[in-house]
């Protein structure tokens, strides 16, 4: 089982070859793994994030708990395998657990490659991703047509389009769901700074808004894992705290969404 909170790397881990910043990323990863985290997600689109992850994994002694999730993001289907191999080298892992077609780019070309890798035992799971509500019609069609293991979508207390069709479909078909942009790239955290944490948050063991926002997502029965990104190990620990304890029921989820919508 994957913990319901993973670790994203969009923007936060793209630090180039800056060793000081790479060490800070490794600190975030250490806090994440120490708190029981497993899934780390990246993409060749994220600049040097893969290299920062590889540096951190090596520094931490390649934690056995790691669930390595990456993406293929290139227009040419023929160049997909080379990009995947380059990504694997950056991560310094023997193989990926999950590879996803990033934002459905050339998905018709890449999915056969990924399914073949899975059949050969060089990959455990195959998925597709989208973000910020794009191409949900295509995502749904691919979910119906292809034997996907994972789908990655944007979902949070404000962006709830996927509740209508994609999340129920994922549940029906047994497709695991990774949630990106759980804090709207920090926007929701910034918005909640002005608002007191509601009293009912303590009923599910939350002492901060980040935890409550993550539990809103994790409580959806179709969601497998949310992947907040951070540059600070304290935030990584706070985020991982949301993977423990009780989850909100549907009534509380509605109250959270109503509160956040007013911010």
């Amino acid at each position: 089982m994957l913990p319901v909170v993973g670790l994203g790397s969009w923007i936060t881990f793209n630090v180039g070859d800056d060793r000081v910043a790479q060490d800070a990323c490794a600190d975030v990863m250490r806090a994440f793994f120490d708190a029981g985290g497993r899934l780390i997600d990246s993409s060749p689109m994220y600049g040097s994030s893969q290299q920062a992850i590889g540096y951190g994994l090596r520094k931490l002694g390649m934690p056995q708990a790691l669930f390595a999730a990456d993406k293929v993001w290139i227009a040419s289907g023929a160049r997909g395998p080379a990009q995947i191999e380059a990504s694997r080298t950056h991560w310094r892992v023997p193989r990926f657990d999950l590879l996803q077609v990033h934002n459905l780019l050339s998905w018709q070309d890449h999915l056969p490659t990924l399914f073949a890798m899975k059949a050969e035992g060089r990959l455990r799971y195959v998925g597709i991703t989208t973000s910020e509500g794009r191409r949900h019609g295509d995502v749904e069609a691919i979910m119906r047509k292809e034997p996907l293991d994972f789908v990655q979508v944007t979902y949070n207390a404000v962006d709830r389009d996927v509740e209508a069709r994609i999340l129920p479909l994922a549940r029906d078909r047994g497709i695991a769901v990774i949630v990106n942009r759980p804090f709207r790239q920090g926007g929701l955290i910034a918005a909640t700074r002005r608002a007191p944490l509601p009293a009912f948050a303590t009923d599910v063991g939350c002492t901060n808004w980040a935890g409550l926002l993550l539990k809103f997502i994790a409580a959806h029965p179709a969601v497998t894992c949310a992947i907040p990104a951070t540059t600070q190990s304290t935030h990584a620990r706070e985020n991982m705290a949301a993977a423990r304890g009780d989850l909100p029921d549907e009534a509380m989820r509605q109250r959270i969404a109503t509160l956040v919508a007013k911010l």
Binding site: V15, D18, G133, Q185
Partner: protein, 229 residues
Amino acid sequence: MSEWWTYRLSSFVLFSPRTYLRLIERYNDDVWPLQLVAMAAGVAIVLLVRSQRSWPSRAIPLALASMWLFVAWAFHVRRYATINWAAQYFAIAFVAEALLLAWTGTVRGRLRFGAGAALQQRAGYVIVAGALAGVPLTEWLAGRDWRQLEWFGVTPDATVIGTLGILLLARDRPPWALLVVPLLWCAVNGAFLWTLGLRDALALPLTALLVLATRLAPPSSRSPRPSAR
């Protein structure tokens, strides 16, 4: 790119402001003391613009082309590409501008410096002063550490701004072909850095607007001092 209209500029921000400023800081450390050499070259160019001799009109574009080539390689390829995959395309644009400057100014001699239209030259001096001193001063006032300041001849923004100013110091109106890449950089990188939260990036679009206004303004009187042929 499907549903391209749903993308915002922020969708293409791949790194944090902190990472960008750290990159500038480490780059400055690496190229030191080239900042001093480039600044001295900038001051020399301003002094040579008024020269009565003919060789500066070919030497100035060559100096600018060298700076654009240097920024393309040392900044875009070696540094910026580590956090921004688009930097390889920026490098190509900077090389193209370097070749255009060398071809138009140095090889063909189509940039003649000396006394030109008064309005154009005043704008040119203001912009060059902005590139040499205004950019780092504004960035410092905006809260950057002094090691994160950008300098003419070694970092893109100050080099672009300085080049636009120097092109306005030519006797005649600068060819549009030489203005395209710098003006596009001002628009694209100005908007990008603004989205990143770096408010000092406003210097880029302001410079572009001043250059466009000057370039499009009706012909005015020339400066009284004669120019070298």
